[in-house]
Point group: C2
Chain length 947, copies 2
């Protein structure tokens, strides 16, 4: 461990190996993992030597595997007190007799299904029963059994709220709390009658508010007991405010003062990573000193309000503990008014010292098996090896107590979110992704819900060519697919003649637009990005009501549209600098990229803002003029987008807006001799037809057309035997069922290596049962309506087929009556069944078992599509292989397969999924320009002026 600490290059693979170890099937599998993670130059030579010995020796694999398992088991038993309630009772009695109180934590925090949660709640209840019964025989210990405000139960259990309710999450907080309350009721009743403290642990940021909300509901329901406890994490920037509110609430509500355990917090890495990745303000302090200072501030408040609450200080940092205990003494509190809490197996000399000083010392004791305990174990290892942890500093600084005990220096200024400002075309700076709304905050959710409710509907969408807006005789209503009585807008219908005129006008505008300085065009798309930021709420609302898109996904789509503008604007400026060519004396060479002409942009409805904005902005910013044909289903969003572009400065003639029926105007656009390129996103059938038609050079045509087509997918997710199912299952649900599976990137095939097939199906079914179906304006909803009646009929047809010909594992039928809903389905079918080969574009996931990873990859690749693919594995070799071999334009390892982000996951397929170079990637704009090399002989009369 000491060795690992000093070598970050070894620490990461070591922890990953430890994480994966419980999922290994046998000795050879352990060795493979050991080999994959640890046979690197950063590993100590002994480890590497061991690996090679294992290869060479008969039985070597078993030996090495046993050594590895043994090592990890030793690490685990250091931190985990036992597997069963009975083992726990024995361990706790020993501690009690040694002068320590305890709080029991049942490992297994990740529950994905109702069954998981029921199981957890039963285990807690059973453990509680065993412990309360056992405790009756423990000797009395006054110091442990009372404080100035009354008696304290001998038994103390720490519960993770999320383990009680898979829906305990920001968007489904209400459902989650109700579930949790139902599962807690027997536990609370038992604790009240038999005498036990029920303590809610703190977890990630996402569930902090829900956990406190649950606590308040418990308190309201059980004001007289049992004794309750909770945790405040001093590393959070809002913890002091939370603490004050909790103290007030306890004073106001509870008869037995709430026990508050003050900790620093154990998820700093994850919280910081999540916030940085989303460009949100981190909820935690940036520096250790800030957390330490805040800990001390919170400790002062706790001792001031002791009696309203029961203070407990949990830390292994000597200074923090000493500060809190001194503050208590200085405030005149007796030593038994506060409690010290420590972790089982961590810094054990400290435990005894605190006890010997006379403090009530409570040990946090995890109970359970290695697999569910792995997250806990890794957190403990991280703490032990973090560079600025007290434990780590203590070991490296030796006895320099004056350094270790120095007061933390901090002004407690919370870190801010990175600034978001309009882009200066003269100095755009590097591209960064637009932050999504921070929907884990209730206020942010409320704001968006209100915005959606306020969405203006009932407007008219015209045809607009050369700045001339007009309606048409026939019009098409666009309705809310989740409430089909609501007409969002009414769209004009362009005719083939309109299409031809639009091309001609765009062609007439081309020379001027193409000749503008690239910076001027970039400035326009940057202005469009700024306008989208301003109009964010409006577009979210429209996407919810016109496209049936869940509110959070609609929000993310606005970010994506902004990203496209910001990214392509910068890329166009880069392109304007030209390509790399070699100069020699006497010769000046330039490789320039020039626009191609009129572009037809034919857009889909499922990303009704981001995809057309990306396609249109890319063509415009490179100097092409555009005829934009939006999808029939989402003319309203498209029209608002077009208006935004005109307002941002796109000339009237450079962008024609052509709502209408694809069959009417599509062929005209595709075949028109003045159309130079076609940007299409949609179905394979239409895409291939466009490719064929566009390849014919027609009279009057002066170029070969370029088609950039993004088509469909039948996207697989492969699950290997050592996958972390806790991670895989939510990701599979998200990949297959978010937005009712109506994404070209959605997973529709689940290929599972057989040993874990049944387990995965069971848990996935349970998770799918919990998916919230409904109108997408409710942030809890993951599955909204399908886009239209055709889509509903198609999905229902495949669902009927599944009932006839496949094993249906889940078919949810609890869908709203008003709207084109289809209930999510999970079925098992042969790999060559239409359910496993046709793109269904709905909430239907077909699972196929595979014999091994080879077979799984072969099944995954047995499709003409090649769009997205996912894979779950914890074997480095398998990860490498899956990344190389899965036939897909976008491969995602150990995460969901949807929501590609501009600049990070350039998006697009090959095979029959697409033609062209990935949207949101560095090669995309090249497709919309022709390269030109200009060479000037700079030598005149033998004189070149160089060198």
């Amino acid at each position: 461990m000491a060795w690992a600490v000093a070598r970050p290059g070894f620490k990461v693979p070591l922890f990953r190996f430890i994480d994966a170890l419980p999922a290994c099937r046998d000795a050879a599998d352990v060795l493979d993992h050991l080999d994959g993670y640890l046979d690197t130059p950063a590993s100590p030579w002994l480890v590497r030597a061991g690996l090679h010995v294992a290869d060479a020796m008969p039985g070597g694999a078993r030996v090495a595997s046993a050594v590895a398992r043994g090592g990890v088991r030793r690490m685990a038993t250091r931190f985990i007190a036992g597997q069963s309630a009975e083992e726990a009772a024995t361990a706790l009695e020993a501690l009690w007799r040694d002068g320590f109180a305890a709080t029991v934590d049942l490992l297994g925090e990740k529950t994905l299904t109702a069954a998981d949660a029921d199981h957890y709640a039963c285990r807690v209840a059973a453990t509680l029963a065993v412990l309360t019964a056992a405790a009756t025989s423990w000797p009395e210990d006054r110091r442990l059994q009372a404080d100035p405000w009354g008696p304290l139960p001998q038994v103390h259990v720490s519960i993770k709220a999320t383990a009680l309710a898979p829906l305990l999450a920001p968007a489904t907080e209400r459902q989650g709390i109700d579930e949790a309350m139902a599962r807690l009721a027997p536990i609370l009743d038992h604790a009240r009658t038999e005498g036990a403290t029920v303590h809610l642990d703190s977890e990630h940021d996402e569930v902090k508010d829900a956990t406190f909300a649950l606590l308040r509901e418990i308190g309201a329901a059980y004001p007289d007991g049992p004794q309750l406890g909770c945790v405040v994490q001093a590393y959070r920037t809002d913890s002091y405010d939370d603490l004050r509110a909790l103290v007030d609430w306890s004073a106001r509500t509870l008869r037995r003062p709430l026990q508050i355990r003050l900790v620093k917090g154990a998820y700093w890495d994850a919280e910081t990573i999540t916030a940085r990745a989303h460009r949100w303000a981190p909820p935690v302090w940036a520096e250790k000193a800030d957390s330490d200072a805040n800990y001390e501030r919170c400790a002062r408040l706790l001792v001031e309000r002791a009696g309203d609450v029961r203070p407990a200080f949990a830390s292994h940092n000597l200074r923090s503990l000493a500060y809190a205990l001194t503050a208590a003494r200085r405030a005149g509190l007796p030593d038994d008014a506060v409690e010290c809490q420590v972790l089982y197996g961590m810094a054990t000399p400290l435990h005894g010292a605190l006890r010997d000083l006379g403090y009530r010392t409570r040990i946090y004791v995890p109970i359970g098996e290695l697999v569910p305990g792995m997250a806990y174990l890794v957190r403990r290892l991280l703490e032990n090896t973090s560079n600025d942890s007290f434990v780590r500093m203590h070991s490296s600084h030796g006895g320099a107590l004056d350094i270790l005990l120095a007061p933390p220096e901090s002004d407690l200024e919370p870190p801010a979110a990175p600034a978001v400002a309009a882009t200066d075309p003269d100095d755009p700076g590097p591209f960064v992704n637009e932050p999504d709304a921070e929907l884990r905050r209730a206020g942010v959710r409320r704001h968006l819900v209100d915005a959606v409710a306020a969405t203006a509907t009932g407007f008219a969408v015209p045809v607009r060519i050369g700045g001339d807006e007009r309606s048409t005789g026939e019009t098409l209503p666009s309705v809310d697919p989740g409430r089909t009585a609501v007409e969002v807008c009414r769209s004009a219908l362009a005719t083939p003649a309109d299409a031809a005129m639009a091309v001609n006008v765009a062609h007439g505008a081309f020379a001027d637009w193409a000749a503008r300085p690239p910076r001027q065009r970039a400035a326009i798309v940057f202005r469009a990005a700024a306008a989208l930021r301003q109009a964010r709420d409006q577009f979210v609302g429209l996407m919810v009501v016109e496209a049936g898109k869940p509110i959070g996904e609609a929000d993310a789509e606005v970010s994506e549209a902004i990203d496209f503008c910001e990214y392509y604007g910068r890329e166009a400026l880069r392109l304007a600098e030209g390509g790399a060519v070699i100069d020699v004396p006497g010769e000046a060479n330039h490789l320039r990229y020039q626009p191609r002409g009129v572009a037809a942009v034919i857009a889909p409805w499922n990303f009704p803002l981001a995809i057309p904005m990306g396609m249109v902005a890319a063509q415009l910013v490179t100097g092409n003029t555009v005829v934009f044909k939006p999808a029939e289903q989402t003319p309203g969003i498209a029209w608002r987008m077009a208006q935004l572009l005109y307002d941002a400065g796109v000339p009237d003639a450079a962008l024609a807006f052509l709502p209408g029926i694809g069959e009417d105007v599509g062929p005209v656009l595709v075949e028109h001799p003045l159309v130079a390129s076609i940007s299409f996103t949609g179905s394979k059938a239409v895409g291939l037809d466009i490719i064929e038609r566009a390849a014919v050079v027609r009279p009057g045509q002066r170029h070969v057309k370029r088609v950039v087509a993004e088509m469909g997918g039948k996207n697989p997710i492969v699950v290997d035997t050592d996958a972390d199912l806790d991670e895989a299952i939510p990701a599979i649900v998200q990949s297959a069922f978010s937005y009712a599976g109506q994404k070209c990137s959605a997973a529709s095939r689940l290929i599972v290596v057989r040993p874990i097939f049944e387990e995965l199906m069971d848990r996935l079914a349970g998770a799918l049962d919990l998916v919230v179906i409904g109108h997408p304006s409710d942030p809890a909803v993951k599955v909204g309506p399908l886009i239209d009646a055709d889509a509903q009929r198609r999905v229902e047809r495949y669902q009927a087929l599944a009932h006839r010909e496949a094993d249906v594992v889940v078919h949810r039928k609890d869908v709203p009556g008003d709207g084109w809903y289809a209930g999510p389905m999970l079925c098992v079918a042969p790999a060559d069944h239409p359910l496993a080969t046709d793109e269904i574009f709905g909430p239907l996931l077909t699972a196929v078992p595979a014999d091994d990873l080879d077979h799984a990859i072969a099944l995954a690749n047995a499709t003409d599509y090649a769009l997205t693919a996912g894979a779950f594995s914890r074997s480095p070799a398998a990860i490498e292989r899956l990344g190389m071999e899965l036939r897909a334009g976008n491969v995602y390892i150990n995460r969901h397969t949807v929501g590609a982000v501009v600049g990070r996951q350039p998006f697009g397929g090959y095979g029959l999924s697409g033609v062209g170079s990935k949207a949101g990637g560095p090669d995309y704009l090249h497709q919309f320009v022709d390269p030109r090399a200009v060479t000037e002989n700079t030598m005149r009369q033998g004189f070149a002026g160089e060198g």
Copy 2:
């Protein structure tokens, strides 16, 4: 001038302006040029202020123009003594009476036609007559009229050999010398009878040997006189050897010792630039000190051998002159044994000082008009402003004589050519172009001629699939198009079944080849490059005899093939590093490029090595397997190329060789569902047909095919009124007629702004008359045979049409009888005539007059093709505009339009000339790969290992 010297940023545009000035039509035109060149921040404010005054004032343009012309004229009259022979006589008499001898130089050195050369020779003869007649009345001056070895004529004329014969060039040296001798005869006769020295000046490197060869022929023909002279350029690394040889020759051959003028040399910039651009060893010393030291070495030899030759020292460098004169005295020579030579108008105080010291001082006196004198003027200005010229140093160092007169430090080690070595795939280093053979050296030419003569013919070319070579029942002879009785090889004819089998085999080999490490594939193409270097002679020979390609162009094509291998090898390694994507914490993103599958490569005959090598190497090195279908006309070269690739390590199954008839196997390859991409170079008709066929997705096809097609062109050259016709005409001839116009890049339309139309036609006709037609194994030949009888019939059809419907300006009929020759033709036709719109692919250039530059650009762009375009202009604004507006993938300004070089001029067209991204450019390989984004969630149990 002093100001210009200090500011290189101003010197270059100033010289360019001075160069262009004589070609300006009127005052406004002068102002435009002045403005274009000099209105930059580097210009002195007075110039810029003047320009703006000129804009604002009525008549301002005329004033500024007059000022500019006046200034340049003053500069010119400082260096040029007069325009006519009579003016020269007056000036020379004045010099004579002032104590100076003179040598007259008739400006107008660039002769492109026989008429130009006749005109020059007549001017020399007439000037000689005027001067010898005039000199009879000059007073006797013993110092100027005799040296220790006898009398010296009063009249002395310096002649540029190239002005006597446009063909006096390396490849046509024999023709050039014969021509020059014929034109010199009356001059030499007159000089002998009337008493005059005939002196051959030295020029560029290219004609140094030819000039000395001419001198020897003169000496052999006129051993008794007239007095002869020549120049040795001490800046040349071979000048000491040349000098020794000349001295020996003079001693052996001539009755009157040869006068040798020792100079440093005036073309250092150009010689160095040319050599660096070609990566040849520079023929001149790298440092000024080397030239100075060599000058002194040569001076010692001259004084040692005085008597065998008559030494003359020409320099404005005081140290060099003093050294030479001191050496003469130290050798015991009387002062009249040596002569000093100086330039008219340069460092005039020196002239008087030398005369006053008692030395015979001869002034080099240019006579003539400003336009032809511009090159001379720019050379003098360069000398005056070069940073290390003595004149310049004198003015900047003031009187620090000890610095100026310090001995030059040099070990006289000649600069070497950059090394060419096989590329190490582990450390390939930056790409550099392969040097062509230095054909300006007679030895190199002889070597290649011998290699061509030794070309092995009569071999059999098999079909080769999966390593299995076999002949076919039917075969096709491939003959020398310039000697149709010679069979180069006999080629098997692949059947459609062969084609299908080849695709299947290549498909079977794909997975293995694609999975190889990119470095391994790069290593193979680097080995191919090295093998091509070794087999250079063999390929040159085959291209001459099988493709009818002139020897120099065949040589350059081998370089291009090597370049493709070296460039794409490096590009593939760059591609293997992946594309630029953004990472955020907790997520690892990679943008990878993977091969697509089986590629069909369908190659043309006109670049039978470089184009297929480029297409095949690009597909192979990116991991695709290839079915290579060579052109019917050049199976022999293709087979040798394929063998070279197999030998370099391309697996048998990864490359199929499929000679045959395009109509038989082409459609099978294009339509085969297992073919992923098609690389085609050839005609527009075939290319468009391929594009259409390939766009249809057929049963069993799992991808959309990618077609990269390079098709035809009807390439224009635009000549603006201020073009330098001396530069334009040879470039036009090269562009339109080299390889008999059989290049897709060849110019076939000449668009000339009207004021210079007639002059250009006249001179171009004269230049075309001199083009050497014949079998391409003769290095003198520019126009060889057409590729086959079909081509000959097609060209003859258009030529007949020209005779019927156009103005035929030139139609050469002096073609060999044995072979598919067509004589070069220049005609004038309307812009919409088939002669001006059809791709003829032969030696036929159609000229079209244009009203102005706008009209010229419109005419140039009035074609569906967009491949190459050329333009000649000396107006910065026009150059910028032509570079931006000419519709062509490759635009060439002030040079020929053929011979694009890998890495420097990425090559390829758009419009109906091509689909795809330029061969030999940074985007080319992207076409043969599919992008894949792989995203790994690196966060496990809340732990990512970053930050």
